[in-house]
Homo-oligomer: 304 residues x 2
Amino acid sequence: MASVCRIAVSGAAGQISYSLLFRIAAGEMLGSQQPIILSLLEIPQAMQALEGVAMELQDGAFPLLQSIELESDAKRAFRDVNSVLLVGAQPRGAGMERRDLLAANARIFVEQGRALNEHAAEDVRVLVVGNPANTNAMITQRCAPRLSPRNFSAMMRLDHNRATAQLAAKAGVGVSAVDGVVIWGNHSTTQYPDLHHATVDGHPALERVDSAWYHEQFIPAVQHRGAAVIEARGSSSAASAANAALQHMRTWMLGTAPEQWTSMAVVSDGAYDIEPGLVYSVPVHCTDGDWQLVDGLVCNDFSR
Amino acid sequence: MASVCRIAVSGAAGQISYSLLFRIAAGEMLGSQQPIILSLLEIPQAMQALEGVAMELQDGAFPLLQSIELESDAKRAFRDVNSVLLVGAQPRGAGMERRDLLAANARIFVEQGRALNEHAAEDVRVLVVGNPANTNAMITQRCAPRLSPRNFSAMMRLDHNRATAQLAAKAGVGVSAVDGVVIWGNHSTTQYPDLHHATVDGHPALERVDSAWYHEQFIPAVQHRGAAVIEARGSSSAASAANAALQHMRTWMLGTAPEQWTSMAVVSDGAYDIEPGLVYSVPVHCTDGDWQLVDGLVCNDFSR
């Protein structure tokens, strides 16, 4: 049996975490042989609700879950952690300007980055889910110079899954028949879901769907999917975001299928003319806990 | 690849289902090779929220999930279904008497039992989660005389898991070291969590924990765990209930481990002096979609 993996989750009493923690405990993130310890971080006001979540995790009787620790201090929560999912973030309140939101989150992620820098295991892998995820990930990474910048990422898998599912539905195939979708950019409405390299049943996707659909329907549908879910469900995507977070970490640690890639926002080294240091979504292969940029994709004028 | 399994879930836009559906879609209930169709049933007022849940399921890009059907009519939702999880029930409203609650649920489960009788596949397995689960299951079963009474059950797995976890915590071991817990009776505070046959690391559990703890702390803690979770979390158990439902169906279809049992409420044939026809929790072995009563357990005077 593998040695235990310490997994920290912030915003652990929130809705996304509620859809995430039980699946992690069941072994869906790191596999059915990997014992885990959950270190759950929340703000002081949410600690009682977090106790309730911990009771329910205990009531899951999960064989892999060795223990659960509840913390309101990032320095304690991140001690020796191997895997970190930063789900919590300051949501936009009524009347809050975008700059206020960015500032409030900057405070949170500076503190968490410093705590990781001081206390996390050297091999720690960090996924930022809380929005604005790319900016929050960049702040976290820059506050943790002891750790490899390659070990910080922001979640684009939800967008990647949405794009894959939309293409599959349009083409009338199962999602397994779709491959090679790329999300470039940020987890925001400025992202670019790119089908120029995608295939359906091994054939170019853009020969299967028409160009007007791609430009006028697919791209805005993927960009604005979050708002559409809120409108229908009455609350924001939680279970699909949790599912994407789980898949992001699972793919990172256990690998992509041969010849396949996924989309992850990682620290740019300047490839594809992306500004170095930005946390930006690109296509990556993953093997054994490491990612490699898929390079050499030709981007046409539209994509640029 | 196995032929597709049609799975119906009622109360599909509710909190328990929100913790359940994504795990079913990921293959956690029936395994990673079993393609599925989800048939989701809700009351008319919840159909828009259900659309949102379906969007998020699509956004999961689950390879096993062939399609999602949304229905507000049980007859349509249960057409040719192989697996049914009756999660939805009328909750107790302010000022509602217990008999009003029972009557409201009787109406729902009579209708659903009749719909199953007319439209479900002959091999359908039915799990009732919505409370009062045992009564609701009995009503459903009695309204579906075409189907084998053995194919109806009510969920006791949450209680079984809670008892297992409480014993493991007291004994200072992982849950895998605990075996042989039995929950007798109903999913209510009248249930009897029985440790007389339980073991910890292969040794009798009641030699490991003292009798006062068993009688004065363990039994009431398991019986009243639901209320304790509500008090801490501010809302009722959803993710742990969903987890138990998933495990109940998985164990039923894929089997218990050799020499192990679980607790399921099934239609009594009179064994253990339980009134025939009641849906009552007993220890069962499961193999290939069938359950067998664990018989011959000696029940002492206290247990009776």
